[in-house]
């Protein structure tokens, strides 16, 4: 008879989400629901009647980890609506920014997933923070790659976290030849490290694929060879950067997108009937906990051609490079392959970039209310923004963020896996569930501080 397990919250990814899993007597998932428990904030409503310059900046604040993708997708959806072609050199700087962001993101994800993996040839899991070799030098390399991504992003984007240089019509400022040289030097240093890091990660992933079990909460859990497999399609708009309605051959089609409500998709009311206090971190939810994914899910379910799709590195490689690996390992492999892809694309863009070129369109049209869209290939997948701008003001705005596409697909990909490894499947998507804020709460008497999670 089926039992229900709940893992809440899921860990080592951005934001707040949970897993509700219906499992058989052997603990194999019959049906899994992975859902966001972050309340939807309605950025779309807030955007209405704001200026086309403000809205991408608002969009960049909805998430702590994807400000670059949201800024670029937001701006390009506005440009799509007002039919504004930006100068070539502005586009090249955006490509550099995009690739810098991806480089940082892959390296950060390496740290988040490494604790699931083993040092090849041993039964020792990897602790990325250990001072012991060989992990210590890997961690240092990851840090350097992140620094390189961040520094290049700051130079091209104008600011470290929320890029201030991109704007509707192009970029505020061109980069000087000196800045270009600095970015180029960093990218070349990064390329060597990225090759090494990619090789290391591929070896670790390959080792994991050969293992029959993994240790979770002190138990040996069998690892299926088909971990994370699903029958859904993939969606990607561009191999590296983005596509918009201004492209000659657009990589995305708004006509093929529909949305269904969470209650059409997720399981109904239930009660947890299987609990494991030894599950990291802090055990699963206790028996008797009420669950109701239909009501708790905080996002709609976007469909492409009437079905959920996978977005992300594997989707990009399947669509544009005939990549044929599947499941969780396929996703991890694809992400590592993007290490060098992002650096080569960055170096090529810097090669082509002319520091004396124009970076701002002139004039910038103010829009007639036509629909524009931009599908930015964010590190974790296709980030689609749609907009209608009239006389410089936003009439309509919609964000279809990557992990929203992946929720229903990943839910299906959980079937057939032991429930204890469900989080490994989730982490394969490098999810970013944008997160609510939590304030610092300070109790004077006990001098205890709950630090706000700044996501």
């Amino acid at each position: 008879m089926s039992k229900i397990v709940e893992i809440s919250p899921t860990t080592r990814h951005e934001g707040h989400s949970k897993l509700v899993l219906k499992v058989d007597d052997a603990g194999i998932i019959e049906r899994g629901d992975w859902l966001s428990i972050t309340p939807v904030r309605g950025v779309e409503k807030l955007a209405i009647n704001k200026t086309m310059d403000q809205v991408p900046k608002i969009a960049s604040r909805v998430c702590g980890i994807c400000p670059i993708a949201h800024t670029l997708a937001g701006i390009e959806s506005m440009e799509g609506s007002i039919r504004c072609e930006i100068p070539r050199d502005a586009k090249l700087l955006r490509v550099v920014l995009q690739c810098a962001n991806r480089l940082h993101s892959i390296a950060l994800h390496n740290i988040l997933i490494l604790p699931d993996f083993y040092i090849p040839g041993t039964d020792t899991k990897i602790n990325p923070f250990t001072p012991e070799e060989p992990v210590r030098s890997v961690a240092k390399r990851i840090q350097r790659l992140r620094e390189i991504g961040q520094t290049i992003g700051e130079i091209a984007g104008g600011e470290a976290v929320h890029p201030s240089n991109p704007r509707v019509g192009g970029m505020y400022k061109a980069c000087t030849p000196r800045a270009v040289t600095k970015m180029y030097d960093l990218a070349k240093e990064g390329l060597v490290l990225a090759h090494e890091q990619m090789d290391f990660m591929l070896a670790v992933i390959s080792n994991m694929r050969k293992r029959d079990w993994t240790e979770v909460g002190g138990k040996q859990i069998p690892l299926p060879k088909t971990l994370g497999y699903h029958n859904q399609g993939v969606m990607a708009a561009h191999p590296i950067y983005a596509s918009s309605n201004l492209d000659e051959n657009p990589g995305w089609d708004p006509e093929r997108w529909t949305d269904v409500r969470p209650w059409d998709w997720y399981m109904g009311e239930g009660e947890v009937s299987l609990a494991d206090p030894s599950y990291p971190i802090g055990g699963t939810s206790p028996v008797g906990t009420k669950v109701n994914p239909q009501m708790e899910a905080c996002t709609g379910v976007p469909l492409y051609d009437g079905a959920p799709v996978e977005v992300g590195p594997r989707a990009r490689l399947v669509k544009f490079k005939n990549f044929d690996e599947k499941g969780t390992w396929g996703q991890h492999i694809a992400r590592q392959l993007e290490y060098t892809d992002s650096l080569y694309a960055m170096i090529n863009a810097l090669d082509e970039y002319n520091p004396s070129g124009k970076v701002l369109a002139d004039p910038i049209p103010q829009g007639d209310g036509s629909l524009g869209w931009a599908a930015n290939e964010a590190p974790r997948g296709c980030d689609v923004h749609l907009a209608k701008v009239k006389d410089g003001r936003v009439l309509y705005y919609e964000m279809l963020v990557p992990t929203t596409w992946n929720f229903p697909t990943c839910s299906r990909a959980l079937t057939g896996a032991p429930w204890q490894v469900a989080e490994m499947v989730v982490r394969g998507y490098d999810p970013c569930v944008s997160c609510a804020t939590h304030m610092i709460v300070i109790d004077e008497d006990q001098r205890v501080v709950a630090q706000k999670l700044i996501q």
Binding site: T11, E14, Q54, M439, Q451, I454
Partner: protein, 179 residues
């Protein structure tokens, strides 16, 4: 190196009313010409991933974090906190990278001050842009406090610079600008 000797990070989300306090202070501070050894950043929501976990203690000696904090004070009241006030692991974030953990790792090698402002209203999960009056009024005080901590003396010039800054900033929109 990504960060210089001193890093000032304004943390929070301007889309949740007073939660935008940190970025607002960072924006004001960015108007000052500060020494090259100081970097002021609008960390937004990205402090942990983009700043705190990337700080190299061999390079950076001081970190000042500006944020909101509910310490039971009056709205707009500012107070300094040390990382020693944040017990290691007590508030560990199990979702992802958190603020406490990287700070706990850094606190023995660099000097960290958290400047907390008591908010009046944090609207999460609903969006509301703009600080409440009391918290808005705390911004210049906090700027002065940060400058004091940094040992930079701008004296009475602060108000004037703010006014000039407002006039100069017309070419760049911010997400909490007029709209």
């Amino acid at each position: 190196m990504l960060f210089p000797e001193t890093v000032v990070a304004g943390c929070g989300n301007p889309l949740f009313a007073d939660d935008g306090f940190g970025p607002a202070v960072a924006e004001e501070l960015a108007r000052f010409e500060l020494p090259d050894t100081i970097k002021v950043m609008d960390a937004g929501l990205g402090g942990p991933h983009f700043i705190f976990t990337l700080i190299d203690p061999e390079q950076t000696k001081r970190l000042i974090i500006i944020d909101i904090a509910d310490f039971g004070g009056d709205p707009g009241e500012i107070r300094d906190f040390r990382v020693e006030d944040l017990p290691a692991g007590s508030y560990r974030d199990i979702h992802s990278w958190d603020l406490t953990e990287p700070l706990q790792r850094l606190k023995d090698t660099i000097d960290i001050t958290v400047i907390g402002c008591q908010p009046e209203r944090v609207t999460a999960p609903d969006f509301e842009m703009g600080l409440t009056e009391k918290v808005h009024n705390a911004v210049p005080r906090t700027v002065r406090h940060v400058l004091e901590l940094l040992g930079v003396d701008y004296g009475m010039a602060i108000e004037n610079l703010r006014n000039e800054g407002r006039q100069q900033e017309t070419d760049r929109e911010t997400c909490i600008g007029e709209g």
